[in-house]
């Protein structure tokens, strides 16, 4: 069992899927000989050939629509959008087709496709390369939206996504690609697509997050532990459908919740979590539900990026404020 980065885990899952199912195809911009701009597909074209690992022309609408068409005919396309900033051109295919094909044909056709999308900030990338608009995707009925936050979860969730009979958007937090390593075995074990992961048990406050900020949230929890505040951390992992029960259960115990995400505050996915608590855990809440998020402004270029992202100090402030609330 090897120590892997997340990008290696993604690659291993892709290899496993290509190996186990001849109907799995990988395509996208630069996924072939270049191995993907983040190297997620490195070596795959050499192993599985250019019939199964294909470079597309530069056209996101066609990439998504090609996946829909191929999936409808029984293949298992795993397509890539190079950066989330370029996913908008694929949304028509995702919302109007992928997410509905099974429903509108009453089960006659289905759409077992995966769209992999590196997302999020924190690597000082150029403009349009650092967005997080998972909430827009999570609003689309019929999709699944999955965000791994560790190498192991990337491997298990990606396998699950590829094997899932319905369309999955798989969002990979770029800044975690090489940030941590973890022992991951290539055992073909999928992880469940509708369960939150408990990263840390705690009594006083529930921290809900996904993707990149898992790092800062974990760091904050350490600091808080030093202050005698016991924080529980949930990695939501699957945003659609998300594990409402896990969040409610945790908050029912702790009485406090702070949600952390990179995307802008307004209509971000944190709103759904807070709303669910306002609807179902009112009596348990000892303090307001706080959201620590990207601001409602355009993700700044590299020089100001760090001021935009929800950093450890802002998380600590929020947690302390809910702890002090009386």
């Amino acid at each position: 069992m090897a120590e892997l980065t997340m990008i290696e885990a993604v690659r291993m899952a892709l290899g496993h899927a290509l190996e186990e199912d001849p109907d799995v195809l990988v395509f996208g911009e630069d996924v072939g000989i270049d191995g993907g701009v983040f190297r997620a597909t490195d070596g795959l074209i050499q192993r599985y050939g250019s019939r199964r690992v294909r470079d597309t022309p530069l056209s996101e609408t066609a990439i998504a629509g090609l996946a829909v068409g191929a999936a409808a005919q029984g293949l298992r396309p795993v397509a890539e959008i190079q950066f989330m900033g370029f996913i908008y051109s694929a949304l028509d295919q995702l919302a109007n087709h992928a997410a509905r094909l099974r429903n509108r044909t009453r089960g006659r056709l289905s759409c077992p496709m995966v769209l992999r999308v590196p997302f999020g900030g924190g690597i000082r990338a150029p403009e349009h390369h650092s967005e997080s608009m998972e909430a827009m995707l999570a609003h689309i009925p019929g999709l699944r939206v999955v965000v791994p936050a560790s190498p192991g979860r990337a491997y298990g969730l990606l396998l699950a996504a590829i094997r899932d009979p319905d369309p999955v958007v798989f969002l990979e937090p770029k800044r975690l690609y090489r940030a941590v390593t973890e022992r991951v075995e290539d055992d073909g074990q999928a992880l469940p697509l509708d369960r939150a992961f408990l990263l840390r048990e705690g009594r006083d406050v529930t921290l809900v997050t996904w993707g990149g900020p898992v790092l800062e949230v974990s760091e904050a929890a350490e600091t808080l532990a030093g202050e005698g505040i016991s924080a529980e951390i949930l990695d939501l992992a699957t945003l659609k459908p998300h594990d409402r029960q896990a969040v409610r259960a945790s908050v029912s115990r702790t009485g406090r919740c702070v949600i952390v995400h990179e995307a802008p505050l307004t209509a971000g996915f944190g709103a759904e979590i807070a709303a669910d608590l306002a609807g179902h855990c009112l009596d348990s809440l000892l303090a307001p539900v706080r959201r620590v998020t990207g601001f409602d402004t355009v993700m700044p270029y590299a020089r100001l990026e760090k001021h935009y992202l929800p950093g450890v100090p802002r998380i600590l402030d929020a947690v302390r404020s809910v702890m002090e609330y009386a």
């Binding site: 294909r54 295919q93 006659r108 509708d194």
Partner: protein, 353 residues
């Protein structure tokens, strides 16, 4: 498009508007049975159309897109296809859907606002009607990729209107099938109008077939009111797609004789004069004249056919009208392969087990 306009272009036509043979017919077209098959399918399509409009006018069908005048495009395409091919329609291809095996009742269901109309019995791999204009072209590319992957000797055939040729997805998909050499045939049913926008204001391209050049694939023009021509050109294109992996773009020049949909009033934006002129070119009369002249198609046969078509359409309409709506929970039954637990409370709120 009036004959005169097309004189410079290679423009495939076998029958002129009077049903006269203007160039040697392709082999299949000397066979009476084959022509009768095409003719019957067009007449049935038109009967369906009339009934659908009548139902809509009386509040028993939803907004409906008529195929009046464009039957030859639909029927020519479908007759050229095999069961291994995959059909990827727009919203005006009733004729092709029928010929592929979708039932009249299923069509009524779809246009009546019932998803079960897309769960059609016949061509199980065919795509349902596509409403977002041109977004079906990438699906055809994907379907063609699947055919190649599975080693099936078939092609994907996508159809859309002249308006669709302005959309990015049309070009992206065409470019993709061109460079990957996927077995796909893209057909443009150029009915000269996109709602109120005439072909001449849709694009400055000389012909819509010319757009094939942007993807490096052949672009052919055919008289879309001559079902023999459509059938033959699509047939040849399918061969090239299947055997040479050469995708092809085909522009069928036809005309939308009716309103855009039952929600539209075409008199707001086009002259009755223009419509009347195009009635002279419509496909059914043309083939009938040829059938009468060359194959002794009789008055009795004609009347019997009309009766058969009406009866079939009426019967299907009755079946449709007798079909109650699905229970509301149907909206969740096929959302995912298995309804996620998280959605159970919503099913409960919807309130019918």
């Amino acid at each position: 498009m009036p004959e005169s306009d097309r004189s410079d272009d290679p423009f495939t036509r076998y029958l002129d508007t009077e049903g006269n043979v203007v160039r040697p017919l392709p082999e299949f077209a000397s066979d009476r049975a084959a022509l009768v098959r095409l003719y019957e399918a067009m007449v049935l399509t038109r009967s369906f159309d009339a009934k659908a409009i009548a139902l809509q006018r009386t509040g028993r069908l939803g907004t409906y897109a008529s195929s009046l005048g464009q039957e030859a495009v639909s029927i020519g395409i479908a007759d050229a296809m095999t069961p291994d091919d995959i059909f990827v329609p727009a919203f005006r291809d009733h004729g092709a859907q029928l010929m592929r095996g979708v039932t009249l009742k299923e069509l009524f269901l779809f246009w009546g606002g019932d998803e079960r109309g897309n769960d059609f019995a016949g061509p199980r791999g065919d795509f349902p009607v596509c409403i977002p204009v041109a977004s079906q072209f990438p699906h055809a590319a994907g379907a063609a990729l699947a055919l190649v992957h599975k080693g099936i000797r078939g092609a994907a055939v996508a159809v859309a209107g002249d308006g669709a040729t302005s959309k990015g997805d049309f070009y992206e998909a065409m470019n993709l099938v061109g460079i990957w050499r996927l077995p796909a045939v893209f057909v443009i049913a150029n009915n000269q109008w996109a709602i109120s926008v005439p072909r001449a204001e849709q694009t400055a391209a000389r012909t819509l077939a010319d757009k094939g050049a942007s993807a490096g694939i052949p672009g052919l023009c055919v008289d879309g009111n001559d079902v023999i021509a459509v059938r033959e050109v699509v047939s040849q294109a399918l061969e090239r797609a299947r055997d040479d992996r050469q995708p092809v773009l085909i522009e069928c020049a036809t005309y939308r004789l009716g309103d855009h949909t039952t929600a539209d009033d075409a008199r707001r934006y086009r002259e009755e004069e223009e419509v009347r002129a195009h009635w002279k070119e419509e496909p059914i009369g043309r083939l009938r004249k040829h059938l009468v002249a060359a194959h002794g198609w009789s008055k009795e046969e004609e009347e019997a056919l009309i009766r058969r078509c009406s009866a079939a359409v009426d019967r299907a309409a009755e079946e449709y009208l007798a079909t109650g709506p699905e229970p509301p929970r149907a909206m969740f039954d096929h959302l995912y392969a298995m309804l996620p637990e998280a959605l159970q409370p919503q099913l409960a709120e919807l309130g019918d087990g």
